[in-house]
Amino acid sequence: MSIWVLRGLRDGVVTTRWPARPDPYADAWRGPARPLEQSERLTGITDLCPTGAITVTGGTVQVDQGRCILCGRCVAERPGVFAWSGGATGPAALTREQLVIPELPETDATIQAARARLAGRTRALRRSVHVRHVDAGSDGSEEWEIQALLGPVYDLHRLGVFITASPRHADVLLVTGAGARGMTGPLRTTYDAMPDPKVVIAAGTDAVSGGLLAGSGSVTDGVGATVPVDIWLAGSPPSPFGVLNALLIAVGYLAPDGRKPR
């Protein structure tokens, strides 16, 4: 057994300092597609997207990042109109509408309301938070990225966040998957079993909108149909930094714009 003591010391500290310090891997990461300010002709660009994330309203191109599966087709085909958004942490939003960029001005009031609602609950959570994960029809990759948070590189525990088996001990419900109809009951039961106050995170494009599976009839096109979602996290799958960021927003440690709230 003693070999493991030495092996544990072999690579020194491999844990990221994020969010206290920037992390080069997180910063080099590419997020969902975003529209650029453009003067090109826009004919046919809505057909580029396999999940219908691109819309054109009055000459303005909007990308619903909650539908983006990061296939990169729009960026490759129309580099003058679309680009990758940067940073592994996002995008996480407090309302579903906020994932549509550029945002429409009328969503400001709803965002303020959502922020106030969440702040009221996160105050009670303080800095020790227990998370219950539920797979509601994921492709399996989201579970890998959440599992990675428990490893030495991300080390969720250093931030006072723990995965728990019992929903009775849980403050945060972390849901992955497109909302398989078979999981509607178990997901709702888990949510109901959690004590108040509680925060729900829809982790990944599948959980936000159903992703490519939207419209299959066997899923509810996202988990928002079953549980009230507080934090919407895009990504197919979201990076471990993205999940970590969403968890820290749930705790009240970070605001969705990446700044510390206080």
């Binding site: 070999i3 990169g72 509601a136 990759s141 066997s218």
Partner: protein, 472 residues
Amino acid sequence: MTMTQPDVLALWKELESRVATGDRFAGLFAARAVDHNVITLSAYLATAGDVHTLEVRLPPGATGYPALTPRVGAAFWYERVIHDQFGLVPEGHPRLAPLIRPGDPLPRHVEGYGMFTIPHGPVRSGVMESIEYLVETPGEAIPHLNMRVFYKHRGVEQRFSGLTVSDGVLLAERTEGIASVAHALAFCHAVERIAGCEPPPVAGLVRVLHAELERIANHLDVAMRLADAAGLAVATARLALHKERVMRLVSRMCGSRFGRGVVVPGGVSALPRLAPAELEGEIGRLARQVRSEAAALMATSSFLDRLRGTGPLTPARARTHGALGPIGKAAGFADDHRLARPYDGYRTLPVPPARAHTAGDAMARLRVRWEEVDSSFGLLGLAAAEWAERTGDQPRASCEPADGRALGWAEAPQGEVLYDVSAAEGRIVRCHPRSASFHNLVLMHEVFAGDILTDFPFIEASFGLSIAGVAL
């Protein structure tokens, strides 16, 4: 090659005799013809060098057919899926409970004094995919286990119909997310067969690079879960660190930690963003670290004691079922597509044959995984060196979608992935994916010979399957 038989029994007899003479049963599925009310049953047989499709059309309006399961036991789950999807009754099937569609489950299997059932799932402890295990037990031994996989049925097969071929690749990558590359490969192989196009050699090499890195990441994940089940905190952390390093290397190569968006019909979307020398350096470093960790783990006796004799699959059962991937190899049944029916870079790269194992237990399965990791690093080194000579090549050949139907396959970390794709006018008419996870998970029924409740996490982890690929 597709063969049509005159009636169901003739097809079953043909299947039974060919399985008895060495072919491997690789699946059975039903499909309704688009324009009329006729259901076709298609069975797959893996032969030397190819995978054949054997078909039979049921009479119009048929509500049942004589079951295949009594003749070929491996059809057990396949016929339950057919019953779920079409309401067709396989007459003589031993246990026709719902499998991938939610429905009323059957009562308990084992009756007797003191027997009770422990339901485990679908919401399970830790970060797991949703599945419900019903453990029937008198307290410690597990005489029977039932599995309900329908919770996360997502309608993947239905969703394929009508997609363009290029959207189909994206869905294939999300059919079983931890084996994205293998699923994209199997799908693209089918499409390329229909179109009659051949990816350029450099694309074959890049495909090998991604497929082998995916294999290493998956095997490290299994080893990590096994170490976690044994409570070895440092080993768990070390293996998680190596897995993270592999995934970061993949993301540096293509932008996705799961190698998504790389494989496209006709080749790969782009060459790796890393310089070949840098990639070779990274592979060499990773190989040294992982091999050293594996050696330490396989010398930790308290860990090995938990694996030895745990969850054994008999070689006879592995052969009759056609057990895939590491589960089959650990029980002496090795049918690796990279060797038997090579594709892409594997046609020229020397894939070492699997070593002979017969124990079939969790220990043998882990040994097989380390041997595969070892040979993967060898293949990675060779593929990277060959790619260094070809960095100026075009990564993609033109692959105009054509009409037709073909099978495609790839060797995922879990074993064989099969895609049966029909396309017309650039769109998918029907696509039937068959993951190794689906074919192998049913074997969990067979391996609790004297194992007790505390062995459960070891057996489950040693299978290394993904539920997403089972319930589709």
